[in-house]
């Protein structure tokens, strides 16, 4: 009796409790049980969507500032009829496409070098340079750009010593795009890297020993094989940009609003929850459609959530 360690007894007791609470005949439902917390958490989101759907069908009474009891589609009609919302939607979409292209162009060489470098030190340096801004939130980074690009900021001071400027850079569309590209770069690189790792390096050597130059090898061998990573990065960068709030509001300075800013303003400037909900739901539908089309055309890339088929 005394030989029996106390941790074993503890484990036995735990085991007995577990067997009592979750008897063997329930074991085939263990998978379901494990999913309950996650499904419940996401359920909050679904409840929110329904709440938003309900609100979007109610009109704002401009006298009492309360929402109507009966349902109508008037908020959606409003959205279609107001050209401002179309302008904002168009601006977000166009910016998202531009940012996606720029981020992939900049991110691919970075991911490639990070995976392929032979120097462990260099790999670590590239990883740390990537993670540091990734772990510093959007607001702080946007603030950093205000300091770099502002009227008395770093760039204008440097240009000033050359007798140039000052130039107005913040609160313009190009600075907004630049800030967004810098924000998206870590996402893109981290989604590209696994896809590049999966490419057999000997394929590149083979291509080059068969006489293809560096660019031809890149275009005909590396990029096609890196496709899952390119798809995943493109989808993520596009949707995150399309729906971004902080960069347009900090670096865009109110004249370069995206849809998310319009949603926020509908709720907190004009206090029209119905209109804001309708706009937010339109964004959900628009964004999901774009993602579905991209994934449908290009495949799920590295975004899947399924195991590798070793299910019990």
């Amino acid at each position: 009796m005394s030989r029996y360690p106390v941790t074993w007894r503890f484990l036995d007791a735990l085991e007995a409790v577990a067997a009592f609470l979750w008897p063997r005949r329930m074991h085939r439902y263990t998978g379901v049980l494990l999913l309950v917390p996650a499904v419940a958490l996401v359920g909050l989101l679904v409840a929110g969507l329904f709440q938003m759907g309900d609100s979007s069908l109610r009109l704002l009474d401009t006298e009492t500032f309360e929402q109507s009891e009966d349902y109508s589609l008037a908020n959606y009609r409003d959205l279609i009829e107001k050209p401002t919302y179309f302008t904002v939607l168009w601006r977000s979409t166009w910016a998202a496409a531009l940012v996606t292209v720029l981020t992939l162009l900049l991110g691919f060489p970075y991911a490639y070098a990070m995976v392929r470098t032979r120097s462990a030190w260099r790999r670590k340096a590239l990883l740390v340079s990537l993670f540091l801004p990734f772990f510093i939130g959007q607001v702080v980074r946007a603030y950093g750009w205000l300091v770099v690009l502002g009227k008395t900021g770093l760039v204008n001071t440097l240009l000033g010593t050359l007798g140039l400027g000052p130039f107005k850079m913040i609160y313009t569309f190009p600075s907004l795009v630049f800030g967004l590209v810098q924000y998206m770069l870590p996402f893109a690189v981290l989604l590209l890297a696994p896809a590049i790792t999966a490419i057999d390096e000997e394929l590149e050597s083979a291509s080059e020993s068969l006489g293809a130059g560096g660019w031809r090898t890149l275009w005909h061998v590396v990029l096609p094989l890196a496709r899952p990573g390119l798809v995943a990065s493109a989808v993520v960068v596009f949707t995150l940009t399309l729906t971004d709030y902080a960069m347009p509001v900090v670096l865009g300075g109110g004249t370069n609003d995206f849809i998310a800013n319009a949603v926020y303003d509908a709720f907190f400037r004009i206090s029209d929850n119905g209109l804001g909900s309708a706009l937010a739901l339109t964004l959900v539908v628009f964004g999901s459609t774009v993602v579905a089309v991209m994934l449908g055309l290009l495949g799920a890339g590295t975004l899947g959530m399924r195991g590798r088929g070793n299910a019990r």
Partner: protein, 264 residues
């Protein structure tokens, strides 16, 4: 002359490194200035802005609130995400395809819509204005990161190891604690750190779910940006640089940053 990919890649990477590091370096530099304005090069060296920030009651409270939100997010998100990943990878589930789409919802629904929806729902059930729902909201929107991190580890574990443990007489709980859990630990740590840092940084959802009495640190920084940009804001932002630094060191020591390069 034709440029080789090597030369172009080198130039692009150099540009990236500057662009990635510049905001951080500038904030660090500006936080030590002696002057009352942010100018280049910074005037003199002093810790007065740190002194001012440390003495500020609202900032200290906002910092503690952010910390609390991150802890709640991690406490709720880590088990939920880890168990979900185990279930997705290890059990033959009905409706696995639909389930996958459902669990990806926090990722596919735009943050502004998730935030507004949660705001309306929390308002409806009367918990809007409390701090803990902000932590739960952060766990919801970042859940996919946790699931992905753990899935990567689960997929690296041979199910025969668990079968062997069971075969040797280990009851289910013991198998889980001594075989499964240690094997997925790298994923759990990675996901947990991500959840903590993302919640500490979360701006938009905080902005929607907090009021004047519950502002978190990112929201209070944002509110100050909109007025006048003084160096004290740089000193506050250094908190974020420090937290990011600690998180990276932890991630590298406990798991190794290289896990992010591993092919799927």
């Amino acid at each position: 002359m034709r440029l080789s990919p090597r030369a172009v890649f080198g130039a692009v990477i150099a540009f990236n490194l500057v662009a990635l590091a510049l905001p951080t370096l500038v904030i660090l530099g500006a936080s030590f200035t002696e002057g009352n304005m942010i100018v280049f090069p910074p005037e003199g060296f002093s810790l007065k802005w740190y002194d001012k920030v440390l003495g500020s009651e609202p900032l200290r409270e906002a910092f503690l609130r952010s910390l609390w939100v991150s802890l709640i997010c991690t406490a709720a998100g880590v088990p939920a995400g880890a168990f979900a990943a185990l279930a997705m990878a290890r059990f033959r589930l009905r409706f696995a395809g639909a389930l996958q789409i459902y669990l990806l919802l926090p990722f596919t629904i735009p943050l502004i819509a998730s935030g507004i929806g949660l705001m309306l729902f929390f308002g409806e059930i009367g918990i809007l204005g409390d701090l803990w729902p902000v932590g739960i909201a952060c766990a919801v929107i970042n859940l996919p990161f946790m699931i992905w991190a753990v899935l990567a580890s689960v997929n690296g574990l041979d199910p025969d190891l668990e079968n062997a443990a069971a075969n040797c007489g280990a009851p289910p709980l013991q198998t889980f604690l001594t075989v499964t859990l240690p094997a997925v630990m790298p994923g759990v740590i990675t996901g947990g750190l991500l959840l903590f840092v993302l919640a500490f940084n979360e701006f938009l959802v905080s902005l929607l779910l907090t009021d004047a009495n519950t502002v978190t640190l990112p929201v209070s920084i944002y509110n100050s940006i909109r007025s006048i940009i003084t160096p004290d804001l740089a000193a506050v932002s250094v908190v974020y640089i420090a937290v990011a630094g600690v998180a990276i060191v932890l991630l590298d020591r406990l798991v190794g940053l290289e896990v992010f390069l591993r092919g799927k």
